[in-house]
């Protein structure tokens, strides 16, 4: 299949912003040795080359349909992988030099897919319509305050999280639990929908935004609260809470690890041979 390289490289070098760049270690295929590469993330594309100044790009990874997964530390490097769902599809092994780098790359890669952005835009679009409606005529009288993340939403999403299997975002029985969620470190970009993306006009979208709760009015009727069993692709809020939990977990693990840290044997993981 032809990928039209020039179009990709042109996009990389054009004026739109770069989303993240830096050195990472990339696992050489079929081996366990790492090579240091300069990575540039733009939109849903991850480019890599030997050094920042290089004209020659080594490769590009299209970031749709992959899960980002933290791995066990390897020789002092903070590893993570991008696992593409589907039989015969690749897993890319990457590693950062420190925890902060690992955390920020994982977060950036999680929010990189087109699918994710599409859901986020849809969600914000709804919030915008809602905000316009509320800011409407009687702005001075009706002081509607926007609730924060909302204990309601967070709890609901926690129960959702708890019921997630390690491979798929699936709805499950509601369980009220604080504390630790499933041990899975797997973070998924949402599976590509099995139906065509919903093209209903915004007017017909059910009003399910629990973040905007009028304080002076009655609680919205049941139908307007987010449902527990839903299609994750239809409600970005929950998808996001799920990711947010993973980032929190990353941070908690890092703090714990710092306390327990012991010295590791240093291995020469850096392979200077050609990739």
């Amino acid at each position: 299949m032809k990928i039209h390289e020039k179009i990709l490289t042109h996009y990389l070098s054009c004026t739109s912003p770069i989303d993240k760049e830096g050195y990472l270690y990339k696992k050489k295929e079929r081996t366990s040795s790492y090579q240091r590469r300069w990575f540039v993330l733009k939109a849903n594309l991850l480019f890599y080359q030997e050094r920042p100044a290089d004209r020659h790009l080594l490769g590009v990874i299209v970031l749709e349909g992959c899960a980002v997964q933290r791995c066990e530390s390897e020789g002092g490097l903070f590893a993570f992988s991008m696992v593409f769902r589907g039989s015969g599809l690749k897993t890319y092994g990457l590693a950062a030099e420190d925890q902060l780098g690992q955390e920020s790359w994982v977060k950036a890669l999680l929010t990189a897919s087109h699918c994710y952005l599409s859901l986020l835009v849809r969600d914000l679009g709804k919030q915008y319509e809602e905000a316009k409606r509320q800011a409407g005529p009687a702005e001075s009288h009706q002081r509607t305050t926007v609730t924060g993340p909302g204990s309601m939403c967070l709890t609901q999403s926690m129960t959702y999280l708890n019921s997630c299997s390690s491979s798929f975002l699936m709805p499950g029985p509601a369980r009220r639990e604080g504390g630790s969620h499933s041990a899975s470190n797997v973070l998924q970009a949402p599976p590509i929908p099995s139906k065509v993306i919903n093209k209903r006009s915004p007017k017909h979208w059910p009003k399910r935004n629990a973040h905007v709760t009028p304080i002076n009015g009655p609680a919205p009727p049941y139908g307007e609260w987010p449902q527990v069993d839903f299609d994750p692709l239809e409600d970005f809020t929950k998808l996001h809470d799920y990711y947010g939990e993973e980032v929190k977990q990353l941070r908690a693990d890092w703090l714990r690890r710092r306390q327990e840290e012991e010295e590791h044997l240093e291995e020469d993981l850096i392979d200077l041979s050609e990739h």
Binding site: M1, K2, I3, H4, E5, K6, I7, T9, H10, Y11, C14, S16, P17, I18, D19, K20, A43, N44, L58, G59, V60, I61, V62, E64, G65, F84, G86, G88, L89, K90, A108, T111, S113, H114, L117, S118, L120, V121, L124, G125, Q127, Y128, A131, Q134, A135, T145, V146, G148, P149, I192, P193, K195, V196, I197, H211, H240, D241, Y243, G244, V247
Partner: protein, 155 residues
């Protein structure tokens, strides 16, 4: 340049925003119109020979110009070069317009602009940054390009 071909091919098999058999003509002199199954998935335009399962090619729909060519045709120009202008022939005016709209809206950069607009507006209307609830307010990709930092409105 290496790329994750298998994964892209897998992506091309996903349900698409829009797919149809169109007449497609490449940019080079001497290229003729050929029937291709054209499929829009995320910000890629895949095109297949009509009897094949694997796409012949994938066009990244970023930094390109989409134009109406005549009542039934539109074109996509890459790199601002006439030598990279692809022509697509549709079966109806309506189909043609729908393709143009879909391709424009599929661009990541287009979506990013919308996001920034909504973010700014929601903040203006409510005093709150809607990305904070998701913990992504500091992600570079969602930054308001003017460099203005969103400050909470004093209540």
């Amino acid at each position: 340049m290496r790329f994750n071909e298998k994964e892209l091919i897998s992506l091309s098999r996903q349900p698409s925003e829009r797919a149809a058999e169109l007449g497609m003509r490449g940019p080079k002199k001497g290229d003729v119109v050929k029937r291709r199954l054209v499929k829009l998935v995320v910000n890629f335009l895949f095109y297949f020979r009509t009897d094949e399962e694997e796409p012949q090619g994938a066009l990244l729909l970023e930094q390109c110009r989409v134009e109406r060519e005549d009542s039934l045709a539109f074109s996509i120009t890459f790199l601002d070069e006439a030598e990279r202008k692809y022509l697509f022939e549709c079966d109806s005016q309506e189909q043609c317009q729908e393709w143009i709209d879909s391709i424009i809206k599929a661009s990541y950069e287009f979506m990013r602009k919308n996001l920034i607009f909504y973010r700014t507006e929601i903040h203006r209307l409510t005093g709150k940054d809607p990305l904070e609830q998701y913990g992504i307010e500091d992600e570079t990709r969602f930054q308001v390009t003017s460099g203005l930092h969103l400050m909470p409105k004093d209540i």
